[in-house]
Symmetry: C2
Subunit: 227 residues, 2 copies
């Protein structure tokens, strides 16, 4: 389903060159729920941006569902993103002037989903993360963890086959964090979605079947949980 | 040192009214290192904003070092903030167009500290959080955890007597998180700084001598660690 070969991402030039990713190779099967862990600055978000077709690698190939993505133009990439991928950003990326509900409706605007249906789906996603009473609040009227939960609801609303969540519980208390990981588990076990979670919380990682440990832009080691 | 009496913070009106804080009473002694824990949306950041003189309560009094802050005008509050308080925001609040080093120098501009001295102190603070090799990177060239560490360095640079850190390790791996809490402990034990940390990580809280548990804007209970 997902094949990464020789993935390298270089920022800057000359002395200031940074190898955010350095020859990363890995495969992820459809329906897997895996986590990515590693020190701050080790390349996790950069890897997620490549996986999410938000960023192209400097070197290497990324095959998604049989399609080589590095040769696609931006429109085609955007199409794949909208259809297949739900992304929870590390910094939420909510639009500051839009209320929670409107932020969640955003992905649906590109898919010509009728207004009433958008509203219904967004409200359901908001309920799922326990925030239906904050539907009309704009981001700066929400706590950090509430913003994070709105970002999660937005990623889930179109029920995408692949969910990429970059530190989805970083600002949540353990109870809220548990509720979120349970949502992911449900989507994975009951509906077969592929879930990739970046986390530095080993309790969250324990819910996944495989942990990819990344360090200095390279895959350091993998842990596989047998059940 | 710090006295909160009947502190209440109300947002919105009528049906949309939210009691972010509801009759909070507590005292914090000089040189204490305490943590604040509670569910997402329970009022932790709002409490920190009041403690940090960034926001005034709707009701109640806040006495800091013998001074009743709620009656002070904005200039006087800004003065107290600059002199006494180092604040690590939950969302970092770094200026996007400024490099890491410049962001850390900011608090010093208001204190007429000469350029070379500002540079020296900022570099030292950056080294302390392990990021001297990122001095010239602007925030969006930094990972989430690196941005968080720059925000911590900025709060520490003027060696303030009170440090308020709102989820300072939320985006850090456990090793980086340990390094940060050790910095705080050193400042507390060796230099007698008062440290208040909001965290949902009980391992971080275990480094403090008292945990205030907040729930629905109220203090739910306190845990005191005897040594
Ligand atoms: N400007 C505002 N207008 C309306 N409600 C607000 C505003 N700011 C905060 N709130 C509400 O006040 C409550 C407390 O917010 P606060 O940010 O203090 O929570 P918190 O404990 O820090 O949460 P988290 O752990 O998620 O960061 C939340 O329910 C939030 O929705
Ligand atoms: N635009 C950029 N220009 C230069 N360097 C960059 C840029 N973006 C990221 N980097 C560097 O690439 C490295 C990897 O960044 P990345 O955000 O992937 O790390 P991360 O593992 O997600 O870290 P964290 O756990 O702190 O979120 C970091 O050292 C960062 O400084
Ligand atoms: Mg990251
Ligand atoms: Mg908060």
């Amino acid at each position: 389903m997902i094949e990464l070969n020789g993935i390298t991402k270089i920022y800057g030039k000359g002395d200031a060159e940074v190898y955010a990713l350095d020859d990363v190779n890995c495969s992820i099967k459809e329906g897997e729920m895996i986590s990515i862990m590693g020190p701050s600055g080790s390349g996790k978000s950069t890897l997620m941006n490549v996986l999410g077709c938000l960023d192209k690698p400097s070197i290497g190939s990324y095959t998604l569902g049989g399609v080589e993505t590095t040769t696609l133009n931006d429109d085609k990439l955007a199409e794949i993103r909208n259809e297949k991928i739900g992304f929870v950003f590390q910094n939420y990326n909510l639009l500051p002037r839009m209320a929670a509900l409107e932020n969640i409706e955003l992905p649906m605007l590109y898919n010509n989903i009728p207004r009433s249906e958008r509203h219904r789906l967004a409200l359901h996603a908001l309920e799922r993360v326990g925030l239906s009473d904050r539907a009309q609040h704009v981001p700066n009227e929400l706590s950090g963890g509430q913003q994070q939960r709105v970002a999660i609801a937005r990623a889930l609303v179109l029920n995408p086959s692949i969910i990429l969540a970059d530190e989805p519980t970083g600002n949540l208390d353990s109870k809220s964090g548990e509720e979120i990981i349970n949502i992911f588990e449900e989507l994975n076990k009951k509906e077969g979605h592929t879930i990739i979670i970046v986390t530095h919380d080993s309790e969250i990682a324990a819910h996944t079947s495989r942990i990819i440990h990344i360090k200095d832009g390279k895959i350091d080691r993998e842990e596989v949980f047998s059940k």
